[in-house]
Amino acid sequence: MFRDLLIIQGLNNLYRSKDRGTQTFYCFVLAVWLLLLSFPMNPLLQRMMMAKFHLRFKFFPSWMVSQLIPSMYNFDNEVWISDQLFSKDSKTMNTSFPSGVTHLWVNHYPLRLIFFNLQRNRLRLQQKDIYIYLRSSYRDTSLYSVYRLFLQGNELRLEPMEND
């Protein structure tokens, strides 16, 4: 019965084959599939994928590798946007933000709210520093980051601040 499965047929055939290119391609695809399958039980991987969303990798090449792992609509990603900087103690909880603070949910990559829009000029015209608070949660793992968006010369700069 199992021999009829497409993947078993492919792997059986691959075992006899001497085509190194195809073997490498199989290894690459199946390794990523297995890695993703372990995701719900692997807090380290969960934290790594959250760090990918928050641009929190220490080395850019490792972030580049992580970017090739698909992660559409992952996690509970919340964003608070304000022109005030809130202290560390008060910002880890949703309820501790004042009611006037813009609060949004994002499907993935929460900083897309800043980068990925056709109204960047509105951000520039504000002339004020803007603080962006990001929180991604998945089961017992969560990651919190703060970014500051400010005007430098004619261009906007987005830089991380204190992070957990």
Partner: protein, 271 residues
């Protein structure tokens, strides 16, 4: 025409449809927004925050159209290299890293590159590997989405409610907010959220199903996901749809090829 060329041509066309379907957003974004109002972030090296790099990476895959019309093996190989490179660059570029279009396009482009390199092979093993790899890529993409949704917040519809109803100002969301009581909208979000999780689970494990089942059901299920979210997700799904649907078209072509061979034998016998 050789079967593999037909498959590559069709998958490339589906890839290009997904790549340019959000052109009404991407063209003003690449050629006006990121040039007029650049955002600098020290995380990205200069090359991956350069607007010209993003513009070239987005526009150059259009050259693939020559390969589609000319059907030369060299053009197919060059085009798949270009598609892989462009989708890789845009997956790592500061102004586009957050769009899943480019990651999915990258995986399909790698598959196209592998097929283009093996374009001359007509053996049954090659066809088998093409299908297994196509279905495995589909499984990887949806596994990436499915595992990230295995949380209480997705299961109780809370995230779908906030993303598609509260933070959304498109007409279906406005209509729902105006005409249905909040509790009813939230209940619908629970149903839709669980349905999406179920569909993604099926697609994540599609490498364990018979190919015919995946080939016929995957496009319908992807259509269902699109229906429950937004048409824009077609930019992510179009290349996957093309890869799954067209890589299975070889059975018909096999019969045609066999038919041609038989005809040729009969003509030779008659002579």
């Amino acid at each position: 025409m050789q079967v593999n060329c037909v498959i590559v041509r069709r998958v490339m066309m589906a890839w290009l449809v997904g790549w340019y379907i959000k052109g009404c957003f991407f063209f003003p974004y690449f050629f006006h927004e990121i040039v007029q109002v650049p955002i600098r972030n020290s995380f990205f090296p200069a090359i991956f925050s350069n607007s010209l790099v993003a513009q070239l990476a987005y526009v150059l895959p259009f050259l693939t159209i020559f390969a589609i019309f000319e059907s030369q093996p060299l053009y197919f190989r060059l085009s798949s290299c270009l598609m892989t490179l462009s989708s890789g660059i845009l997956s790592w570029h500061q102004d586009t890293y957050n769009d899943a279009t480019f990651v999915t396009s990258f995986w399909v482009a790698v598959w196209l590159l592998w097929v283009s390199i093996n374009l001359d092979r007509r053996d049954a093993e090659f066809r088998l590997h093409a299908r297994v790899l196509a279905v495995s890529i589909l499984s990887v993409v949806f596994m990436g989405g499915w595992v990230g949704k295995l949380t209480a917040e997705y299961w109780n519809g809370q995230i779908i409610y906030h993303i598609f109803i509260v933070s959304n100002n498109h007409w279906p969301a406005i209509w729902l907010k105006n005409f249905l009581p909040r509790e009813q909208v939230q209940l619908w979000c629970v149903v839709i959220s669980r349905l999406i999780i179920g569909l993604e689970m099926f697609l994540s494990f599609s490498l364990f199903f018979p190919f015919r089942l995946v080939r016929f059901w995957a496009p319908f299920l992807m259509g269902g996901i699109m229906l429950f979210s937004t048409w824009r997700i077609l930019s992510v799904l179009s290349c996957l749809f093309g890869m799954i649907w067209f890589c299975g078209g070889s059975e018909k072509f096999d019969r045609e090829e066999k038919g041609h061979l038989l005809k040729g034998t009969e003509i030779r016998k008659a002579q």
